[in-house]
Protein backbone atom coordinates (compact mmCIF):
# COMPACT_ATOMS: atom_id res chain seq x y z
CA UNK A 1 0.00 0.00 0.00
CA UNK A 2 1.50 3.33 -1.00
CA UNK A 3 0.68 6.75 0.37
CA UNK A 4 0.24 9.59 -2.05
CA UNK A 5 3.20 11.92 -2.08
CA UNK A 6 1.35 15.18 -2.20
CA UNK A 7 1.95 18.43 -0.43
CA UNK A 8 1.85 19.00 3.29
CA UNK A 9 3.69 17.26 6.05
CA UNK A 10 2.48 13.80 5.08
CA UNK A 11 5.58 11.63 5.05
CA UNK A 12 5.92 8.95 2.40
CA UNK A 13 7.76 6.93 4.97
CA UNK A 14 4.71 6.37 7.15
CA UNK A 15 3.79 3.27 5.14
CA UNK A 16 7.31 1.78 5.39
CA UNK A 17 8.25 -0.86 7.94
CA UNK A 18 11.88 0.21 8.22
CA UNK A 19 13.66 3.48 7.76
CA UNK A 20 15.86 4.23 4.80
CA UNK A 21 19.53 4.06 5.68
CA UNK A 22 21.42 6.62 3.67
CA UNK A 23 25.15 6.93 3.18
CA UNK A 24 25.89 10.63 2.64
CA UNK A 25 29.24 11.42 1.06
CA UNK A 26 30.67 14.94 0.81
CA UNK A 27 34.09 16.43 1.53
CA UNK A 28 32.59 19.75 2.67
CA UNK A 29 31.71 19.72 6.36
CA UNK A 30 28.89 22.23 6.06
CA UNK A 31 27.26 20.35 3.21
CA UNK A 32 27.61 17.12 5.16
CA UNK A 33 25.90 18.65 8.17
CA UNK A 34 23.12 20.04 6.02
CA UNK A 35 22.55 16.80 4.19
CA UNK A 36 22.55 14.84 7.42
CA UNK A 37 19.99 17.17 8.99
CA UNK A 38 17.72 17.13 5.96
CA UNK A 39 17.82 13.34 5.84
CA UNK A 40 17.13 12.98 9.56
CA UNK A 41 14.12 15.30 9.33
CA UNK A 42 12.96 13.08 6.48
CA UNK A 43 13.12 10.12 8.89
CA UNK A 44 16.19 8.50 7.38
CA UNK A 45 19.01 6.87 9.25
CA UNK A 46 22.21 8.61 8.16
CA UNK A 47 25.86 7.67 7.99
CA UNK A 48 28.21 10.34 6.68
CA UNK A 49 31.52 9.89 4.91
CA UNK A 50 33.97 12.64 4.06
CA UNK A 51 35.38 10.99 0.95
CA UNK A 52 34.97 8.13 -1.51
CA UNK A 53 37.44 5.86 0.22
CA UNK A 54 35.62 6.12 3.53
CA UNK A 55 32.36 5.47 1.73
CA UNK A 56 33.76 2.32 0.16
CA UNK A 57 34.95 1.13 3.55
CA UNK A 58 31.46 1.50 5.00
CA UNK A 59 30.09 -0.42 2.05
CA UNK A 60 32.54 -3.25 2.56
CA UNK A 61 34.60 -2.52 -0.53
CA UNK A 62 37.64 -1.25 1.26
CA UNK A 63 40.00 -3.01 3.60
CA UNK A 64 39.10 -6.74 3.78
CA UNK A 65 39.64 -6.49 7.54
CA UNK A 66 36.88 -3.89 7.72
CA UNK A 67 34.22 -5.11 10.13
CA UNK A 68 32.16 -1.97 10.23
CA UNK A 69 30.22 -2.81 7.07
CA UNK A 70 26.64 -1.68 6.88
CA UNK A 71 23.65 -2.16 4.69
CA UNK A 72 22.48 1.02 3.04
CA UNK A 73 19.37 1.68 0.97
CA UNK A 74 20.66 4.79 -0.72
CA UNK A 75 23.93 6.56 -1.43
CA UNK A 76 23.95 10.32 -1.89
CA UNK A 77 27.28 11.67 -3.00
CA UNK A 78 28.77 14.97 -4.01
CA UNK A 79 30.30 14.94 -7.48
CA UNK A 80 33.34 17.14 -6.86
CA UNK A 81 35.53 15.56 -4.24
CA UNK A 82 39.32 15.38 -4.03
CA UNK A 83 40.78 11.93 -4.58
CA UNK A 84 37.81 9.90 -5.73
CA UNK A 85 35.00 11.84 -7.38
CA UNK A 86 31.34 10.99 -6.87
CA UNK A 87 31.30 9.68 -10.40
CA UNK A 88 34.15 7.28 -9.65
CA UNK A 89 32.35 6.15 -6.51
CA UNK A 90 29.21 5.56 -8.55
CA UNK A 91 31.09 3.39 -11.02
CA UNK A 92 32.71 1.34 -8.28
CA UNK A 93 29.32 0.64 -6.72
CA UNK A 94 27.71 -0.27 -10.04
CA UNK A 95 30.58 -2.59 -10.99
CA UNK A 96 29.91 -4.77 -7.98
CA UNK A 97 28.64 -8.30 -8.51
CA UNK A 98 26.90 -8.28 -5.13
CA UNK A 99 23.53 -6.71 -4.22
CA UNK A 100 25.42 -3.50 -3.68
CA UNK A 101 25.08 -2.60 -7.33
CA UNK A 102 21.30 -2.36 -6.83
CA UNK A 103 21.68 0.42 -4.29
CA UNK A 104 20.51 3.68 -5.83
CA UNK A 105 23.18 6.35 -6.07
CA UNK A 106 22.22 10.00 -6.25
CA UNK A 107 24.79 12.55 -7.37
CA UNK A 108 24.79 16.10 -6.04
CA UNK A 109 26.55 18.96 -7.71
CA UNK A 110 26.66 22.73 -7.42
CA UNK A 111 27.25 22.92 -11.16
CA UNK A 112 24.62 22.29 -13.78
CA UNK A 113 26.71 20.74 -16.56
CA UNK A 114 24.69 18.63 -19.03
CA UNK A 115 27.61 16.39 -20.06
CA UNK A 116 28.32 15.70 -16.40
CA UNK A 117 24.69 14.93 -15.68
CA UNK A 118 24.42 12.64 -18.70
CA UNK A 119 27.52 10.65 -17.93
CA UNK A 120 26.34 10.06 -14.37
CA UNK A 121 22.91 8.93 -15.48
CA UNK A 122 24.46 6.77 -18.20
CA UNK A 123 26.65 5.09 -15.59
CA UNK A 124 23.63 4.16 -13.51
CA UNK A 125 23.01 7.11 -11.20
CA UNK A 126 19.43 7.17 -9.95
CA UNK A 127 19.22 10.92 -10.02
CA UNK A 128 21.32 14.00 -10.33
CA UNK A 129 20.42 16.84 -8.01
CA UNK A 130 21.50 20.44 -7.80
CA UNK A 131 23.09 21.90 -4.70
CA UNK A 132 22.33 23.59 -2.41
CA UNK A 133 19.92 20.99 -1.17
CA UNK A 134 16.55 21.93 0.30
CA UNK A 135 14.24 19.93 2.49
CA UNK A 136 11.73 19.61 -0.34
CA UNK A 137 14.38 18.01 -2.59
CA UNK A 138 14.78 15.06 -0.28
CA UNK A 139 11.03 14.67 0.14
CA UNK A 140 10.74 14.38 -3.63
CA UNK A 141 13.67 12.00 -3.77
CA UNK A 142 12.15 9.69 -1.18
CA UNK A 143 8.85 9.56 -3.00
CA UNK A 144 10.66 8.70 -6.20
CA UNK A 145 12.65 5.95 -4.51
CA UNK A 146 9.73 4.45 -2.63
CA UNK A 147 7.70 4.31 -5.80
CA UNK A 148 10.57 2.56 -7.56
CA UNK A 149 11.06 0.07 -4.74
CA UNK A 150 8.03 -2.14 -5.27
Amino acid sequence: MKNGCGSGSESCLSSMEEELHVLAVDDNLIDRKLLERILKISSCKVTTAENGLRALEYLGLGDPQQTNVMKVNLIITDYCMPGMTGFELLKKVKQESSNLKEVPVVILSSENIPTRINKCLASGAQMFMQKPLKLSDVEKLKCHLLNCRS
Binding site: N28, L29, I30, D31, K33, L34, R37, I38, I41, C80, P82, S110, K131, P132, L133, K134, L135
Partner: protein
Amino acid sequence: MNTTVVAQLQRQFQDYIVSLYQQGFLDNQFSELRKLQDEGTPDFVSEVVFLFFDDCSKLINTMSTSLEQPDNVDFKQLDSGVHQLKGSSSSVGAKRVKNVCISFKECCDVQNREGCLRCLQQVDYEYKMLKTKLQELFNLEQQILQAGGTIPQVDIS
Protein backbone atom coordinates in the same frame (compact mmCIF):
# COMPACT_ATOMS: atom_id res chain seq x y z
CA MET B 1 5.50 37.58 29.83
CA ASN B 2 5.25 41.17 28.71
CA THR B 3 3.41 40.81 25.43
CA THR B 4 4.18 44.36 24.30
CA VAL B 5 7.89 43.82 24.73
CA VAL B 6 7.71 40.49 22.91
CA ALA B 7 5.69 41.98 20.05
CA GLN B 8 8.19 44.82 19.77
CA LEU B 9 11.15 42.45 19.67
CA GLN B 10 9.44 40.22 17.16
CA ARG B 11 8.78 43.21 14.97
CA GLN B 12 12.40 44.27 15.27
CA PHE B 13 13.55 40.78 14.35
CA GLN B 14 11.23 40.63 11.36
CA ASP B 15 12.34 44.00 10.02
CA TYR B 16 15.98 43.15 10.54
CA ILE B 17 15.93 39.82 8.80
CA VAL B 18 13.91 41.24 5.89
CA SER B 19 16.50 44.00 5.50
CA LEU B 20 19.28 41.41 5.32
CA TYR B 21 17.52 39.75 2.41
CA GLN B 22 16.75 43.06 0.75
CA GLN B 23 20.34 44.23 1.02
CA GLY B 24 21.54 41.00 -0.57
CA PHE B 25 23.37 39.61 2.44
CA LEU B 26 21.19 36.53 2.45
CA ASP B 27 19.25 34.61 -0.14
CA ASN B 28 16.52 32.01 -0.09
CA GLN B 29 18.86 29.24 1.00
CA PHE B 30 19.06 30.89 4.42
CA SER B 31 15.29 30.50 4.75
CA GLU B 32 15.72 26.86 3.79
CA LEU B 33 18.29 26.55 6.54
CA ARG B 34 15.87 28.03 9.08
CA LYS B 35 13.30 25.42 8.11
CA LEU B 36 15.68 22.75 9.36
CA GLN B 37 15.64 24.13 12.89
CA ASP B 38 13.01 23.14 15.43
CA GLU B 39 12.49 23.03 19.20
CA GLY B 40 14.62 19.89 19.34
CA THR B 41 17.50 21.55 17.48
CA PRO B 42 17.19 25.25 18.43
CA ASP B 43 20.84 26.02 17.63
CA PHE B 44 21.09 24.34 14.26
CA VAL B 45 21.26 27.52 12.20
CA SER B 46 23.75 29.28 14.43
CA GLU B 47 25.93 26.14 14.58
CA VAL B 48 26.06 25.81 10.83
CA VAL B 49 26.60 29.51 10.33
CA PHE B 50 29.48 29.65 12.80
CA LEU B 51 31.04 26.60 11.17
CA PHE B 52 30.81 28.52 7.94
CA PHE B 53 32.57 31.57 9.42
CA ASP B 54 35.33 29.33 10.78
CA ASP B 55 35.66 27.79 7.37
CA CYS B 56 35.91 31.26 5.79
CA SER B 57 38.65 32.28 8.18
CA LYS B 58 40.73 29.16 7.55
CA LEU B 59 40.28 29.19 3.79
CA ILE B 60 41.11 32.88 3.56
CA ASN B 61 44.34 32.27 5.46
CA THR B 62 45.33 29.40 3.20
CA MET B 63 44.47 31.35 0.06
CA SER B 64 46.38 34.35 1.32
CA THR B 65 49.47 32.18 1.64
CA SER B 66 48.95 30.79 -1.86
CA LEU B 67 48.90 34.35 -3.19
CA GLU B 68 51.89 35.65 -1.27
CA GLN B 69 54.77 35.04 -3.70
CA PRO B 70 54.09 36.90 -6.96
CA ASP B 71 56.16 34.42 -8.99
CA ASN B 72 54.91 31.35 -7.26
CA VAL B 73 51.14 31.45 -6.93
CA ASP B 74 49.55 28.07 -6.47
CA PHE B 75 46.44 28.66 -8.56
CA LYS B 76 45.38 25.05 -8.23
CA GLN B 77 45.22 25.28 -4.47
CA LEU B 78 43.55 28.65 -4.77
CA ASP B 79 40.90 27.26 -7.06
CA SER B 80 40.24 24.46 -4.61
CA GLY B 81 39.81 26.97 -1.78
CA VAL B 82 37.48 29.17 -3.79
CA HIS B 83 35.43 26.14 -4.82
CA GLN B 84 34.99 25.15 -1.16
CA LEU B 85 34.07 28.66 -0.12
CA LYS B 86 31.64 29.06 -2.96
CA GLY B 87 29.99 25.78 -2.03
CA SER B 88 29.69 26.59 1.65
CA SER B 89 28.44 30.11 1.11
CA SER B 90 25.86 28.84 -1.34
CA SER B 91 24.70 26.18 1.11
CA VAL B 92 24.09 28.65 3.95
CA GLY B 93 22.59 31.41 1.83
CA ALA B 94 25.50 33.85 2.19
CA LYS B 95 24.70 35.63 -1.05
CA ARG B 96 27.33 38.36 -1.13
CA VAL B 97 30.12 36.00 -0.16
CA LYS B 98 29.02 33.58 -2.84
CA ASN B 99 28.99 36.31 -5.48
CA VAL B 100 32.53 37.37 -4.65
CA CYS B 101 33.56 33.72 -4.99
CA ILE B 102 32.16 33.66 -8.50
CA SER B 103 34.40 36.60 -9.48
CA PHE B 104 37.25 35.05 -7.56
CA LYS B 105 36.97 31.83 -9.55
CA GLU B 106 37.09 33.80 -12.79
CA CYS B 107 40.32 35.48 -11.68
CA CYS B 108 41.80 32.10 -10.76
CA ASP B 109 40.85 30.62 -14.10
CA VAL B 110 42.87 33.26 -15.95
CA GLN B 111 45.61 33.28 -13.32
CA ASN B 112 45.08 36.92 -12.50
CA ARG B 113 46.96 37.40 -9.24
CA GLU B 114 45.96 41.03 -8.76
CA GLY B 115 42.32 40.18 -9.33
CA CYS B 116 42.59 37.30 -6.89
CA LEU B 117 44.09 39.55 -4.24
CA ARG B 118 41.22 41.99 -4.63
CA CYS B 119 38.66 39.20 -4.41
CA LEU B 120 40.34 37.78 -1.35
CA GLN B 121 40.11 41.14 0.37
CA GLN B 122 36.48 41.43 -0.62
CA VAL B 123 35.58 37.96 0.58
CA ASP B 124 37.22 38.72 3.91
CA TYR B 125 35.24 41.93 4.22
CA GLU B 126 31.95 40.31 3.25
CA TYR B 127 32.12 37.34 5.55
CA LYS B 128 33.04 39.55 8.50
CA MET B 129 30.20 41.91 7.70
CA LEU B 130 27.77 39.01 7.48
CA LYS B 131 29.09 37.63 10.75
CA THR B 132 28.30 40.91 12.50
CA LYS B 133 24.83 41.03 10.97
CA LEU B 134 23.96 37.47 11.90
CA GLN B 135 25.29 37.85 15.41
CA GLU B 136 22.86 40.72 15.77
CA LEU B 137 20.08 38.54 14.38
CA PHE B 138 20.80 35.69 16.79
CA ASN B 139 21.00 38.22 19.59
CA LEU B 140 17.48 39.41 18.76
CA GLU B 141 16.31 35.79 18.73
CA GLN B 142 17.73 35.27 22.21
CA GLN B 143 16.02 38.41 23.47
CA ILE B 144 12.69 37.20 22.13
CA LEU B 145 13.11 33.80 23.76
CA GLN B 146 14.19 35.31 27.05
CA ALA B 147 11.15 37.55 27.04
CA GLY B 148 9.05 34.40 26.69
CA GLY B 149 8.16 34.83 23.05
CA THR B 150 8.61 32.67 19.96
CA ILE B 151 10.75 33.49 16.97
CA PRO B 152 8.61 34.53 14.02
CA GLN B 153 8.56 32.54 10.79
CA VAL B 154 9.42 35.03 8.12
CA ASP B 155 8.21 34.51 4.59
CA ILE B 156 10.63 36.12 2.19
CA SER B 157 8.73 35.50 -1.02
